[in-house]
Structures are given as C-alpha cells and as structure tokens.
C-alpha cells in the first residue's frame, strides 16, 4: 500500500511519519508517533474525543487525512503542560472536578483552548458553543463549562499559561 512521508510539528517538535493510504490523523498520531492523548470515540466526527489543533484551529483528527498535515503545526493535550507545570485550563478542570472517566477530556481541553486562544473572555454561551461538538457522557457538562470560564478568568489564553 502506498506510503506517503509527512513532516509536521507536534506540540512544537519536528515529527516525520509515513502515512498509509487513507490513514487518518488520529491513527497516525497514536500509532505513528505515539501521542496517545487524542482518543477514538466514534470515528464519525460526532463526539470530539479526537479533537486536536491544526495551525491553531480545532479539527477532528478522525476525519482528517494524515497526509494533509504535512508542513503544519499540530497541537494536542500532550503538549498543554510544559515541564512540570500544567496549563491553567488543566488546572481549572482539576479544580472543578470536570472529568470522571477522563476519556473526553483531552478533546474537550483542545476545543476549550481553541476558544480561549481566539476569545480570551468568553461568555457562558461562547463556552457552550465551543464545546458543543464534544460529547461527555459522565459529567452533565456543567463542571466543564465552569472550568473553562474559570480558566478564562485566570489568563489561560496566554501561550503555555
């Protein structure tokens, strides 16, 4: 099967991988370069668990062809914390107990980060809209909304916290 070389940055680090014919970005990130933070929830683009940022825009990696990220910047939850510190969004999720099983959390965090990067002071409605493509079966969403709002008040929009 045809293999295509792909070069991109993942959380600021140069990566190179071979994308097989029709391989999606989620699979390449997880199995190709070993970033296990994006999750498979549906493979249909409906749950948001695989959300990553491509050049700053939130994208569903399960519906993105791996070869299309050639030359682009990909960001995942693995890159949210730098060194020993965690990102204010992660901190706010912790303080609000905004995760139970934790499976939707990485995708939820990336959707929230994309929001705060473009709108540092979102309203509750802005937050609701931003995470509407991300499903959570455990929390009832309220703690997640509160966490994103709290993070926005603590300046999460600044790069790396």
């Amino acid at each position: 099967m045809a293999q295509k070389p792909v070069q991109f940055t993942l959380n600021g680090e140069d990566k190179a991988a071979f994308a097989s014919d029709g391989q999606n970005l989620l699979d390449m990130l997880r199995r190709g370069v070993g970033d296990l933070s994006p999750k498979y929830g549906c493979g249909q683009g409906a749950c948001g668990a695989c959300t990553v940022l491509i050049d700053g825009e939130p994208c569903l990696s399960c519906l993105t062809l791996a070869e299309t990220v050639d030359g682009k910047d990909v960001a995942t939850t693995s890159g949210l914390s730098s060194g020993s510190g965690i990102h204010p969004l992660q901190d706010a999720f912790m303080r609000n107990f905004a995760a139970q099983c934790g499976y939707c959390t990485p995708g939820m965090l990336m959707a929230a980060k994309a929001l705060l990067d473009r709108n540092p002071q979102p309203s509750r409605d802005d937050v609701v809209e931003a995470i509407s493509g991300n499903l959570c079966r455990c929390t009832g969403y309220e703690p997640i909304i509160n966490a994103v709002l709290e993070a926005s008040r603590s300046g999460a929009s600044q790069p790396n916290g």
């Binding site: 549906c42 249909q44 409906a46 749950c47 107990f97 995760a99 139970q100 099983c101 934790g102 499976y103 937050v127 609701v128 809209e129 995470i131 509407s132 499903l135 079966r137 455990c138 929390t139 009832g140 969403y141 309220e142 703690p143 997640i144 909304i145």
Partner: protein
C-alpha cells in the same frame, strides 16, 4: 399557541450492591519500607472514582495521610478477586474489603511501633499525619515510616492486610418472592420544571431541584459529580435517548451520535441538589452508592411535569414532540393543571 410550564415530582429508593448478595470483593494492602501504602484491587474505575474513594477509605482506616496511599486497580496478577464495578456495589463492597485489609495492616504497623517504643500496642493511636503516638501523650511518638522500617528491617514483619467483603447469596422463595435483597438503600426525590411548546410539542427542562440521601458522602465532590452527571443522564433518558424509536420495530435505529440524541451543553438546566446522609449500618463509614440511583427519579418527574404543564400523560419513553402533539390533539389542546 403558547408555552406552558409545569412541575413534576418523583421519589425513589435504590438497592446498593448485587441484589441477592453472593458478590465478594477483596483487597490487599501493604506498606513499602517508608510507610507508604499500596492498595491492590482488581476493581474497575470507570469514572465513578473507585481509585479515589478506596484511597480515602484506606487512609482513614490506616490512620495515615491520603497522600501516603496509592490504589492500583485491575491487574489480575496482583489484584485479588472482585466481582466488578456495577450494581452500585463498588463503594459498598470494595470499601468494606479495603477497611478490613487496612485494619489488619494497621494492626501490624501498631505492633511494630509498640515493640519499637516498648509500650502496649493497645495504647497507641495514629494522628492521621504520619505519626503514631501513645494515647494522651502526643510527644511519645514515632512516624509511620519508622514503624514500617522497624517492622520490615528489624522485626521481620510484613505490614500488610487482607480484606474481603461478602454478603452470602440469598435464596428466593419461588412462590412468594421472599428474599433478602441487598442490605441498604439510597433515596432520592426530584422536582423537575419543564416548559412545553404546544405548537411544536418540544419540551425544555427549566430547572431541577433534588434531594439525594447517600448514606455518607465519603467524598463530597465525587458525590456531586455522580449526582450532576446522573441527573443529566436521567433527563436524557426521559426526553432524548432510544436505540429503537419505533420499538418494538427495530427500524430507524441510530448508528451515530447524530441520530442517538443526548442533551448537549446548551440543553442543560440548573440543578439544585441537597445531599442527605443517613449512614448505612453496613456501609463503609456509612456510605451507600449514589452512582446509579441519581438518574432514576428524573424520568418520571419529567413526564409528571409534562402532565402538569399541558395535561398530557406520556407513558412510553422517551418523551418526543410527536407523542406530546398526539396527546394534545387527543385532548383537544393543552390542559394546564394546578400550578405548583
């Protein structure tokens, strides 16, 4: 054509653990040389907080800080048998097993400390901060680390404990249904306010007010997580979800989240919760399991609220706009009931 508001009430109780018993769970606890404890389970954390609640239970029982305890779940080579995480049995069954294991390990730790301090173990107590001292004489103390080191390197004792919890399997009388189902029950009451659009048949949940009796909130934040998320799921069962929209026909079954509907973050309603705690005599520190029952009162409360709003009874779940409109049509329009 207008929107009508109504309130519906429901209350429930819920059996904790596998109904007839016969479902053991085990725990093993041991200390490393620094007096830090590992709890080995084969129980499952699927988000409900099994690792966290058993960690607190172990720390409380051992008498050490929670930071000095770590729970490992689910490796069949190291974790002893557990039936599993279902039937609201985790906190109750596994919690009790962890208490028993922790008590055994604590006894060894205190014996080791007693030998080291040349006192009677019965005269010792823990302060929950990592120290063991003589009752009434806090200054005569050693650390749990010193006790663990003495046990393992001087006395040749393993600071460890085994625990199991089992309610023996109950028989059932075939003719009367006499049985001994579960040993404790959680309780809840729920009032849901809905708004029904009598033109579209759509309903919107406006507010939920509830009370949940959970035995003891072993960790209040974990309880809050369950109740908030569980009530959301109850709301979802009431008016959104079905795998077979035309049950018993199997047609039109959903294959993705565009067809299997659940309330999104924009559909949620304010939920005001009161938590009551009447400890269960056989629960770990009185705790019952809140994880399953939290959804149950919402389903009937929603249909009762729809009746209160427009006088339509929905006896088949989920409440869909189609069913509401058919009911309104049959009644000749909305018939709002007494406001509450």
């Amino acid at each position: 054509m207008s929107k009508h508001r109504g309130k519906g009430f429901a209350c429930i109780n819920y059996p904790i653990g596998m109904n007839l018993g016969g479902d053991p769970s085990q725990a093993l606890v041991h200390s490393n040389p620094d007096g830090k404890f590992m709890v080995a389970l084969s129980s499952i954390d699927l988000g409900q907080g099994m690792k966290s609640v058993t960690r607190q239970i172990a720390a409380e029982t051992l008498g050490v800080p929670v930071e000095d305890v770590y729970v490992d779940t689910a490796d069949s080579d190291t974790g002893p048998h557990c039936m599993g995480s279902f039937a609201s049995r985790g906190t109750h069954r596994v919690g009790n097993a962890v208490i028993q294991a922790s008590q055994e390990a604590r006894a060894v730790m205190l014996e080791a400390a007693a030998e080291e301090m040349e006192v009677n173990a019965a005269d010792l107590m823990t302060d929950g901060k990592g120290n063991i001292h003589v009752k009434g004489a806090p200054s005569r103390s050693i650390t749990t680390m010193e006790a663990a080191q003495a046990a393992q390197f001087k006395q040749g004792k393993t600071v460890s404990g085994r625990g199991i919890f089992l309610i023996p399997l109950s028989d059932v009388d075939p003719d009367t249904g006499e049985m001994t189902p579960v040993s404790c029950f959680a309780h809840a009451a729920m009032i849901v306010e809905v708004e029904v659009d009598d033109e579209t048949g759509e309903i919107e949940v406006i507010e939920m007010n509830s009370s949940y009796e959970v035995g003891r909130a072993l960790n209040p934040r974990l309880v809050e997580q369950q109740l908030t998320g569980g009530a959301w799921m109850g709301m979802s069962h009431a008016a959104w979800e079905t795998t077979e929209p035309y049950y018993p026909e199997r047609d039109h079954g959903p294959v993705d989240f565009n067809h299997y509907l659940m309330p999104g973050p924009g559909d949620i309603a304010p939920h005001n919760i009161a938590i009551l705690e009447r400890p269960a005599p056989d629960g770990p520190y009185g705790g019952k399991g809140p994880g399953e029952m939290c959804a149950n009162p919402v389903l009937p409360a929603v249909v009762n609220a729809v009746f209160n709003a427009v006088g339509v009874r929905i006896d088949d779940l989920p409440v869909t706009p189609e069913k509401v409109l058919r009911g309104l049509q049959a009644n000749g329009g909305a018939q709002p009931q007494a406001r509450r």
